[in-house]
């Protein structure tokens, strides 16, 4: 299941003399790994046919004329001025590279020369390798025109080295032409043994730290003997397993050669470990090797040294184009097109995500803009408000609010006295008379006349003949009770109280005079100007 999700895929293609091996590697949820390996024999079909069939790509003949023209036009615009212009769609289609993009091609061990040359300074791409080669008698033959070289640098102790690889120019060019006919561009053309070691190290990590390591990878027909420093090969030799009886002797001889080379040429530290790897490692080989190298040998049951192992290493290498490796086609191939390496899927996802975010933001912006526009248009209808900011408008409103409250206080919040006086008169007991009357609904006074009475009250003085027994006449209580029960008084002056009572002789008879005090439920004091009146309810909505 984890292998179903691949993030980046790369192919390794090992083209041997009689067969071709394909390996497909990818980053999956489990990490970097090989997805499949395919083995084909060149005797059945030529390399081009094998490539087309295995990689599921159209053959050169299948490429449409227009696509080819578009490709030519985009690659050689000067030379193709006379040709009819291809359509934009065809041009764009031509830009899309043919699958697969990440392609590592291996060169067989018998076609590669590999060595290390000491250099006085660190090796860079600017190092004059030709001078270095010609000065060294062991590698002087590399300066021949029919060879193609690539190099990289390393350091052992204080000494700098150039790791040099070489192959026949015709072989490399031939391979490149084959791939080019499919519009394919290999990332690298690597020496096969290095790629085989890379594949092996994926499962069995190399020795890290000081000390070199011998790797003896046993194949069905060949045995690879490599001296490595960590994951960097310092030198290798390939032993043919024919005849089988001479293999152990050859192996020991090569080991000695490499030890001498390591000790005297590279001045590298002694080997710290020897690893023999293969489907079946003979015990006597391990013992023999251990005796020569003078370190214990470990035997591991691993893959055999063959084209498949090389292809696997190439596929893994294709996933790391920046890995330290030789590229024998470096100086004859076109630089790798950035367009071909473009992470299209990630770019598309990122562009879609960003596009979505931008669309949402744009929509929000346009909605806001629309609302703002309509609101501005609505506000512009109030011509008097044009150019006035909210603070100015609020100041005007505050003034208006106060004015409205005061006007309301004057016009609306007032007492209708006529019906109240009428009620007073109606409820007055028959024998009683009304004396003084004081009705107040004070307005615009600085302070209330009385804090007990507030700004609105009614004082009524009523007189009643005193009964012969001298008791308080019942009319007073009944009048007060009648006032309290009157709906008009309940609404305007629900609190009716007896304020005072006294006696006086009037009309030749003793009279009791009572003062009734009528006040509203809540006594309101004349206050100061309302400074921050609340806005009207309708406006608050």
């Amino acid at each position: 299941m984890a292998a179903a999700f691949t993030f980046k895929e790369g192919w390794g293609i090992y083209v041997g003399d009689k067969e071709v091996y394909f390996a497909r590697a990818a980053y999956t949820l489990k990490g970097k790994g090989i997805l499949e390996t395919i083995h084909r024999t060149l005797a059945d079909k030529p390399l081009a046919a094998q490539l087309a069939e295995t990689l599921h790509i159209p053959t050169p003949e299948e490429l449409t004329v227009q696509e080819a023209a578009a490709l030519d036009a985009s690659e050689h615009p000067e030379a193709n001025k006379s040709l009819p212009k291809p359509s934009l769609a065809a041009r764009l289609k031509a830009l899309i590279p043919r699958f697969p993009l990440l392609l590592d091609v291996g060169v067989p061990d018998n076609r590669v020369f590999f060595s290390m040359l000491p250099t006085p300074s660190p090796v860079t791409r600017k190092t004059d390798l030709q001078a270095l080669i010609s000065e060294n008698p062991r590698t002087a033959f590399l300066s021949m025109d029919h060879l193609i070289t690539d190099w990289t640098g390393t350091q052992i102790g204080e000494q700098h080295f150039a790791i040099v690889g070489a192959a026949r120019r015709t072989h490399i060019r031939g391979l490149l032409q084959t791939f080019d006919s499919f519009r394919l561009q290999p990332l690298r053309m690597e020496p096969g043994p290095w790629a085989a070691l890379r594949a092996l190290w994926q499962t069995f990590p190399p020795l890290l730290g000081p000390g070199n390591e011998f790797w003896i990878v046993i194949g069905e027909k060949k045995i690879l003997v490599a001296l490595c420093q960590g994951s960097l090969p310092l030198g290798w030799q390939v032993v043919e397993r024919d005849p089988e009886s001479a293999v152990q002797r050859k192996l020991e001889s090569i080991l000695r050669q490499l030890m001498t080379y390591s000790r005297w040429t590279l001045k590298a530290p002694e080997a710290a470990r020897v690893t023999l790897c293969g489907p079946a490692v003979p015990e006597q080989w391990a013992k023999g090797v251990s005796d020569i190298v003078q370190v214990p040998a470990r035997s591991i049951a691993g893959p055999a040294y063959d084209g498949e192992l090389v292809a696997r290493g190439l596929a893994l290498g294709s996933l790391s184009p920046d890995a330290s490796a030789l590229n024998l086609a470096r100086f004859v191939q076109k630089p790798l097109s950035l367009m071909a390496l473009l992470p299209r899927f990630e770019s598309l996802v990122a562009a879609l995500v960003i596009g979505f975010v931008l669309i949402v933001m744009g929509d929000r912006s346009s909605t806001l803009s629309r609302h703002l526009h309509s609101l501005k248009r609505e506000n512009a209808q109030a011509a008097w408000a044009i150019g006035k900011n909210p603070m100015e408008l609020d100041a005007i409103n505050r003034k208006l609010r106060v004015e409205a409250i005061l006007l309301e206080e004057y016009l609306v919040d007032r007492t209708a006295w006529a019906p109240i006086f009428e009620e007073l008169s109606r409820l007055l007991p028959e024998k009683s008379l009304m004396g003084n009357l004081e009705a107040e609904d004070q307005i615009w006074l600085k302070n209330s006349a009385s804090k007990d009475l507030g700004e609105r009250y009614l004082l009524v003085r009523m007189g009643t003949p005193l009964p012969p027994n001298g008791e308080v006449p019942g009319e007073i209580d009944s009048y007060l009770a009648a006032l309290r029960l009157s709906p008009l008084f309940m609404k305007n002056f629900p609190r009716v109280q007896l304020a005072s009572i006294n006696w006086r002789k009037d009309f030749g008879a003793e009279m009791a005079y009572a003062m009734a005090m009528c006040v509203p439920a809540q006594i309101k004091q004349t206050g100061e100007l309302p400074s921050s009146a609340p806005p009207p309810k309708e406006a608050a909505k």
Binding site: L342, G355, L358, L372, A385, L407, A418, P536
Partner: protein, 218 residues
């Protein structure tokens, strides 16, 4: 040409350093995604974000303005309705005439009439100023009641501030002192105030004159 050399050098630098570095897919991926991010979010997103911020600010300001405009419209409408119930030309003379006519119709006689300019800050209502008119009417309770009822039910509103009914004796007529609050123009109120002050000064001087005349007689 020097420019060609520069161009060549730049091209070489591009091919030699930048392109080689970008041939590492991880570097290329980060670069491409970075460029997409910078182009998308940096060059379009950020200005858009800032424009949204500005629009939101403007919108909230306009919303606030709309609320205030609505409130002001409402207040103005309410004020207009209130002002319809006030006399257009509410001068002191107009009010005096108004009250005289009303009392005459009710069969009452206005015995004393005195205006006051209200001192409270609450009497300052826009372009108008509150004034208190105190007058005394003499007549029976029923007529006074009718007079008060008439004043209260007129479309021109007056605020009955105080009503004081008293009889000196049971046989003497009912004297009712009424104080009403009315609204006049500020200019009119000012005029009345000046007139009242002048009268007060004259009143204060009269006893002094009399005293000085008495003294000269002696």
């Amino acid at each position: 040409m020097p420019s060609a050399t520069l161009k060549e050098n730049l091209m070489k630098a591009w091919e030699g350093k930048v392109v080689v570095r970008l041939q590492d897919p991880d570097t290329l991926r980060i670069t491409v995604l970075g460029v997409i991010g910078i182009l998308g979010l940096g060059m379009i997103g950020l200005p858009l974000y800032s424009s949204i911020g500005t629009l939101q600010d403007q919108l909230s300001r306009e919303k606030e303005r709309a609320t205030l405009i609505k409130e002001q419209t409402l207040l103005t409408t309410r004020m207009k309705q209130y002002k319809k119930r006030l006399p257009e030309n509410g001068t002191l003379n107009w009010w005096t005439g108004y009250l005289m006519d009303a009392s005459r119709d009710s069969g009452l006689k206005i015995a004393e009439f005195k205006p006051y300019v209200a001192q409270s800050a609450r009497a300052n209502i826009g372009a108008r100023r509150g004034m208190l008119l105190r007058f005394e009417v003499v007549g029976p309770f029923s007529k006074v009641l009718r007079f008060i009822g008439w004043l209260e039910n007129q479309p021109t509103i007056v605020h009955m501030a105080s009503i004081l009914m008293a009889k000196e004796s049971l046989t003497s007529p009912l004297r009712t002192t009424i104080t009403i609050g009315v609204l006049t123009d500020r200019a009119e109120a000012k005029k009345v105030m000046a007139k009242l002050q002048k009268e007060a000064v004259i009143k204060k001087r009269e006893p002094e004159k009399e005293e000085s005349l008495n003294a000269s007689d002696h």
